[in-house]
């Protein structure tokens, strides 16, 4: 095993440990001792990788956000239809939250409480989603009249729903909420009727790729 492999593996373990600890007791209460204890590495190893607990937090946040965004892009990128892209992107995002609740919590809950650099990074990540949503203006019958801040508001709403479930420790319930989240996101662009139809259609579809579960 190369030294490079060990180092990157250690880094990943430390990040995962921080996310676990932070989601259990809140970032501010977490100590470096907690992190190294859970990661099973020495204190020296921690400081070889990160200058401080805060630096480690930012790395965890970056890792989680970029992984989630990658999944969204993978899921949405192949599709032509905007509403399908939004739906696929949101589905991928929610699935990530369910699979990695601790990391999701790190970048969506703890990030807001971890100080200005983290909040700034959170804001920047949100912008990546904004550009995907903005494409909806081209397909909307009243795209030119939509308020300038619409994407920010829609995403703020979606993130708030996810945030609340994470705070309550109900991350696993979030995937079942996909149809209503999709409907909420599409309504301002396509109108309630079309938004509902599209959200419901997917729900009724028989998944051929195995990633659709029956949500009645």
């Amino acid at each position: 095993m190369s030294r490079g492999f060990i180092v990157s593996h250690q880094r990943a373990r430390i990040i995962a440990a921080l996310a676990q600890e932070a989601s259990e007791k809140g970032f501010h209460a977490v100590t470096v001792a907690d992190i190294v204890g859970r990661a099973g590495v020495g204190r020296n190893t921690f400081y070889e990788n990160f200058g401080s607990k805060e630096e480690c937090f930012l790395a965890a946040q970056e890792f989680a956000m970029s992984t989630a965004l990658e999944r969204v892009v993978d899921a949405a990128g192949e599709l032509d239809d905007w509403s399908r892209r939004i739906e696929a992107g949101l589905a991928a995002f929610l699935r990530y939250v369910v699979e990695e609740p601790a990391l999701a919590r790190t970048c969506m809950v703890e990030a807001l409480m971890a100080g200005p650099s983290s909040v700034r990074f959170y804001e920047e990540s949100l912008q990546a989603f904004v550009s995907l949503f903005k494409l909806g203006r081209d397909v909307s019958p009243h795209g030119e009249d939509l308020p300038e801040t619409l994407e920010e508001a829609v995403l703020g709403g979606v993130f708030w729903i996810v945030y609340q479930r994470l705070v309550m420790g109900d991350a696993e319930t979030i995937e079942a909420m996909l149809p209503e989240i999709v409907e909420f996101a599409l309504t301002p662009y396509l109108g309630a009727e079309d938004a509902r139809r599209i959200a419901a259609e997917r729900n009724g579809e028989v998944g051929s790729d195995g990633d659709q579960t029956d949500r009645g």
């Binding site: 829609v154 609340q164 301002p188 309630a192």
Partner: protein, 231 residues
């Protein structure tokens, strides 16, 4: 955007906790002074937090702004956190009161929503320090405050739920159990992002966007835009 009815009521311009009693001897009853000291400490905390952020604020900063002794601080609060919670609660009580009053004054729900949002934006933009304390610093001030913050936001949900009343089957079918939660979350995120970036002067300009965004699920976008652009 001032409330016209307020002139007949003896309503203070400013929450009493956040107004200040001039320092010095005044021969006031002890209980009044004690109460007033507490209010001064709360005001002092708001100023100190505006200057240094929650994390950078010390008890010395608070007592300096409040012009009281350290000992007085500890007669009222056991810690900076406790003082922050008191400040947060009084800011939110004032905000809640203003929003509730503005909302209640309108007969029609869409106009009531508009008035409530206008009152919120008016308060936050005229008090940038308190806006920052309640929407930005609150999140770094520990779990007790964060819990209150979450509850305060969810507390706005019923204002929007009231919009379901009397809607057609078709409109109701387009609303999900979490529609209001998402609307409130979206609204707060627009507002707090500007406060975080020290752009409180932009808040009042958000009124039409926020009104249109929140009314669209109930009225459709054409009607929502009409209410949003009313003056």
């Amino acid at each position: 955007m001032r409330d016209p009815v307020d002139q007949s009521v003896e309503a203070p311009e400013f929450p009493p906790e956040l107004a200040r009693l001039p320092p010095g001897r005044h021969g006031l009853p002890r209980e009044f002074v004690a109460h007033n000291q507490r209010e001064r400490l709360i005001a002092g905390l708001a100023e100190a937090v505006a200057e240094n952020g929650y994390t950078g604020t010390t008890i010395a900063h608070i007592t300096r702004h409040a012009a009281v002794s350290r000992r007085t601080f500890y007669e009222h609060f056991s810690s900076k956190d406790e003082c922050f919670v008191a400040a947060y609660d009084s800011v939110m009580a004032e905000l809640r009161k203003r929003v509730g009053e503005a909302f209640d004054q309108e007969d029609k729900w869409p106009q009531a929503i508009r008035a409530g949002i206008a009152a919120m934006l008016d308060f936050l933009s005229s008090e940038p320090h308190l806006a920052r304390l309640s929407m930005v610093e609150a999140l770094v001030a520990g779990p007790v405050v964060v819990e209150r913050y979450d509850a305060a936001i969810q507390g706005l949900v019923p204002y929007f739920q009231a919009g379901r009343e009397g809607r057609s089957e078709e409109v109701l079918a387009g609303l999900s159990p979490t529609t209001e939660e998402a609307l409130v979350g979206g609204m707060v995120s627009l507002v707090s992002r500007r406060i975080f970036a020290n752009r409180t002067e932009e808040l009042e300009g958000l009124l039409p966007d926020l009104v249109e965004f929140t009314l669209t699920p109930y009225l459709g976008s054409t009607e929502a835009a009409k209410v949003a652009r009313q003056s």
